[in-house]
């Protein structure tokens, strides 16, 4: 059992939960994830570990509420418990010891970038973070990333920071030269667009993938992705891969497998809520732009 200590809303549909998980807090490394299981009948949800405090025995999970299960999670209040958290899963990020790195985060993917940027900064690598959102309220973790180095914040509508997509800011940064490596995490179209920029320049680019997953230990094969023409399992071979070799079309397509089911589950949940507890917890936003990031991470 894992107690929820805090739940903080970061954007209209993104929340940061700090939960008890002493063992995972002790040994987790940047890039790794956990599988969260709320309780009997619940789905198993893969979530990147955004942060951890080995002394307090806690980890933070940044969750975008896009489907029934993630809405259930972000409604947890301090004192509530999560039945199971399994991990840390996946391979840790392979990080350089020196040089200059750009970290690109889109939407909730920014939370995956944070532990990477933090570890890079600790190693003395010069980090530039480029993060974005639709508008100001959708930008998350800017202050946390600012502690790791320079941050370029972009909004699609120009309401904050640099107007336009993160890829436009990345293009300028790459053109200025001197970039040794790029880490990019966000919606599939964003990662694909990042790779379209870095590949011609031969800049190593690591992406973190969030395909459909059940167990997280390699046993279901649901998370298979094609990398360099070979089928790999994101849960055990990844979740990070060389972005220049990932078949993003296939990944984006496989993420749509359960779309009708997800819509129906959400509708059932909303109907249930309207019937049972009208007006409670007004802080939860409507399911904004369904599937903005493709999945929970």
């Amino acid at each position: 059992m894992h107690r929820v200590l805090t739940n903080e809303q970061l954007s209209p549909n993104v929340y940061r939960l700090v939960v008890e998980a002493p063992r995972i807090a002790q040994i987790r490394k940047p890039g790794q994830f956990v599988i969260v299981h709320l309780g009997h009948g619940a789905e198993r949800i893969p979530l990147t570990i955004a942060d951890g405090d080995p002394e307090a025995g806690t980890i933070s999970l940044v969750i975008q509420a896009v489907g029934k299960s993630t809405f259930d999670l972000v409604e947890l209040q301090p004192g509530d418990v999560i039945a199971g958290i399994a991990g840390p899963l996946g391979k840790p990020t392979e990080l350089p010891e020196s040089g200059r790195v750009v970290c690109v985060g889109g939407g909730v993917g920014t939370a995956v970038i944070l532990p990477i940027a933090r570890e890079l900064a600790r190693r003395g690598v010069r980090v530039t973070s480029i993060i974005g959102g639709r508008s100001r309220e959708w930008v998350i973790l800017e202050d946390d990333l600012a502690r790791c180095g320079e941050v370029v914040t972009c909004t699609d509508d120009g309401s904050y920071g640099r107007p336009g997509f993160v890829t436009e800011a990345l293009k300028d940064t790459l053109e200025a030269g001197g970039i040794d490596e790029v880490f990019a995490v966000g919606p599939v179209p964003m990662m694909r667009a990042v790779v379209a920029l870095t590949k011609p320049l031969d800049v190593p680019t690591t992406v973190s993938l969030n395909p459909i997953m059940v167990d997280g230990t390699g046993m279901c094969g649901g998370c298979r992705v094609t990398v360099d023409g070979v089928t790999r399992y994101a849960c055990v071979d990844g979740p990070e891969f060389d972005g220049r070799k990932v078949d993003f079309d296939e990944l984006a397509d496989r993420l749509t497998t359960y779309r009708p089911f997800e819509r129906a589950a959400l509708e059932r949940r909303e109907a249930c809520k309207v019937g049972l507890k009208t007006g409670e917890r007004g802080g939860v936003a409507a399911p904004a732009a369904a599937g903005a990031a493709g999945g929970a991470r």
Binding site: E43, A86, L89, D215, G218, C220, G222, T231, D253
Partner: protein
């Protein structure tokens, strides 16, 4: 069903002569009607009535040299529990059975008895064997319903601890054997619930989940601790466990799915059997309101011929598939599945396409599966496994439409644990190497089940669990190496699991 034919059970019953016993016909297991059960998840086999069980028990000849015990991987004293049952002492029969077998409710349902105990039953030489599996289930279910009467007082504490990695049939069996001997046993399970393949793999209609839970609860009541959500190789490493515990038993199974390696396998609508069955069984996705989603195919094809393939195809049928087809590259005679599963699948309207192998998965413009391209096969000369090798017939390609495809051609070893244990010797397939006592290259670390032998059956894994528990006991009591491996040398020795090379992964289930 034979309910009408059975004579009333005489009371008191005079002892039958051997000749009279020989005249008794084997009773049939009452089952749900095929048309009804093909649309529900309730158990197919209903279990013997008391009357049927007593009649069947009379059929056992109580051989002085019982071959059935040799045929059983966990060496259940079969004549003894049958005799106790026959004599009207079902409680003693249950106690006897539980002494030998930690999970009798499971084995009474899923063991391939026809190729084990019942195969060597003396009565099989001249007719039908004693229905040992049905009797085991009857006694085991009685034991479960009367758990209070059979409660054991906790064993004297041995003062030593054992970690068991994996809560499948091998792990649970070892846990039961070791806790009985007073060891402090902790079972580590990667999933959120214990049972391994018994809960994620084998469907409800063959092995109800509350039965598995009851078996697990019985072990917990005896003192076994279960730590869920703990992945050895990730949450803890094997060397860490070895530090914390006096001995370790690795029973993680062969967890990775094998795919066919043909074009189109990543199309939407293509599942590994592991994923499909896990969604349905462990995650409860047979219920349309469950949180875990599931595709419901109308025309489902399952590739493979093992028990897992039968489970998948019969599940698809129950979830509304208008057609559910097994595609198998050999013929009916080579099907590795239990005979009863094949028979049940046939009764439930499953279509069998024999001597057919897929060469490509076909999809539409939205990348949903629409069918498979196949080639017909002919059986050639026997291969290493002794079965005739299927060979493609040139020019025989054809297409078979489907909207869901389940690949059930076997599993292979999962490297998660072994990657973090550099001192643990593995073979070229990634399976753990053990000596004749089940010990690995790391002193005090034992292994058994599919991670040693390659994909096999529940009962073989349980046999390994039992044997390893005996080895661990010998190791922890300073009787190492144990002098005698086989407990009763009078019986013909059977090849130990560890002496046989594990079958190559892909051949595991589908062959």
């Amino acid at each position: 069903m034979t309910l009408e034919q059975e004579p009333p059970a005489p009371e008191p019953r005079p002892a039958l002569t051997q000749k009279e016993r020989m005249q008794l016909k084997r009773v049939d297991m009452p089952e749900q009607e095929p048309q009804i059960r093909a649309a529900n998840f309730a158990e197919v086999n209903l279990g013997l009535t008391e009357q049927l069980a007593l009649i069947e028990a009379e059929r056992c000849l109580q051989c002085p040299k019982p071959y059935c015990i040799d045929g059983c991987p966990v060496r259940v004293n079969i004549p003894q529990f049958i005799r106790l049952l026959r004599d009207g002492d079902v409680k003693a029969a249950a106690a006897s059975l539980l002494d030998d077998n930690a999970l009798p409710c499971v084995t009474g349902r899923v063991c391939p008895q026809e190729s084990q105990c019942e195969k060597v039953c003396l009565r099989a030489k001249t007719g039908k064997s004693v229905a040992i599996g049905h009797l085991e289930r009857y006694v085991a279910d009685w034991a479960m319903a009367h758990a209070d009467e059979l409660a054991r007082s906790p064993a004297a504490q041995a003062g030593k601890s054992v970690a068991i990695v994996g809560s499948g049939p091998a792990g649970l069996t070892a846990a039961g054997e070791l806790v009985k001997r007073g060891y402090d046993v902790t079972v580590f399970e990667a999933f959120h619930a214990a049972g391994g393949v018994l809960i994620y793999g084998i469907p409800e209609f063959r092995l109800p989940k509350d039965i598995v839970q009851a078996e697990v609860d019985r072990l917990v009541a005896q003192g076994v601790k279960i730590e869920a959500d703990a992945i050895i190789g990730k949450t803890y490493t094997l060397p860490e466990l070895r530090e914390r515990f006096d001995a370790v038993f690795i029973a993680v199974g062969a967890g990775l799915p094998v795919f066919m390696n043909v074009p189109g396998e990543n199309l939407k609508g293509v599942y590994s059997a592991n994923e499909y069955l896990t969604r349905v069984n462990l995650m409860g996705a047979w219920d349309p309101e469950a949180d875990t989603p599931l595709l419901h195919g109308q025309r489902v094809v399952v590739v493979g011929g093992g028990n897992v393939a039968m489970d998948a195809v019969r599940t698809a049928r129950r979830l509304g598939a208008a057609s559910a087809t097994i595609v198998y590259r050999r013929s009916h005679d080579e099907l590795p599945a239990r005979a009863e599963e094949v028979h049940h699948a046939e009764q439930e309207g499953v279509i069998f396409e024999f001597l057919v192998a897929p060469t490509e998965v076909l999809g539409d413009e939205n990348r949903w599966v629409t069918g498979i391209r196949c080639i017909r096969m002919a059986l050639g000369e026997p291969d290493d496994s002794g079965r005739r090798r299927p060979e493609p017939i040139e020019g025989s390609e054809f297409e078979m439409p489907c909207d869901m495809l389940v690949v059930a051609i076997g599993t292979r070893s999962n490297p998660l644990l072994t990657q973090t244990a550099p001192d643990l010797e593995i073979n070229k397939w990634g399976y753990i190497v053990t000596d004749e006592h089940g010990m690995t290259s790391m002193p005090g670390v034992f292994a058994g089940g599919d991670i040693v032998r390659g994909a096999a059956t529940v009962i073989l894994a349980m046999g390994d669990g039992k044997k390893s528990a005996e080895s661990i006991n010998a190791y922890l009591t300073g009787n190492w190496p144990p002098a005698v491996v086989e407990p009763e040398p009078a019986h013909a020795a059977k090849p130990a699991a560890h002496e046989r090379p594990p079958r190559p992964a892909a051949a595991g289930v589908a062959g």
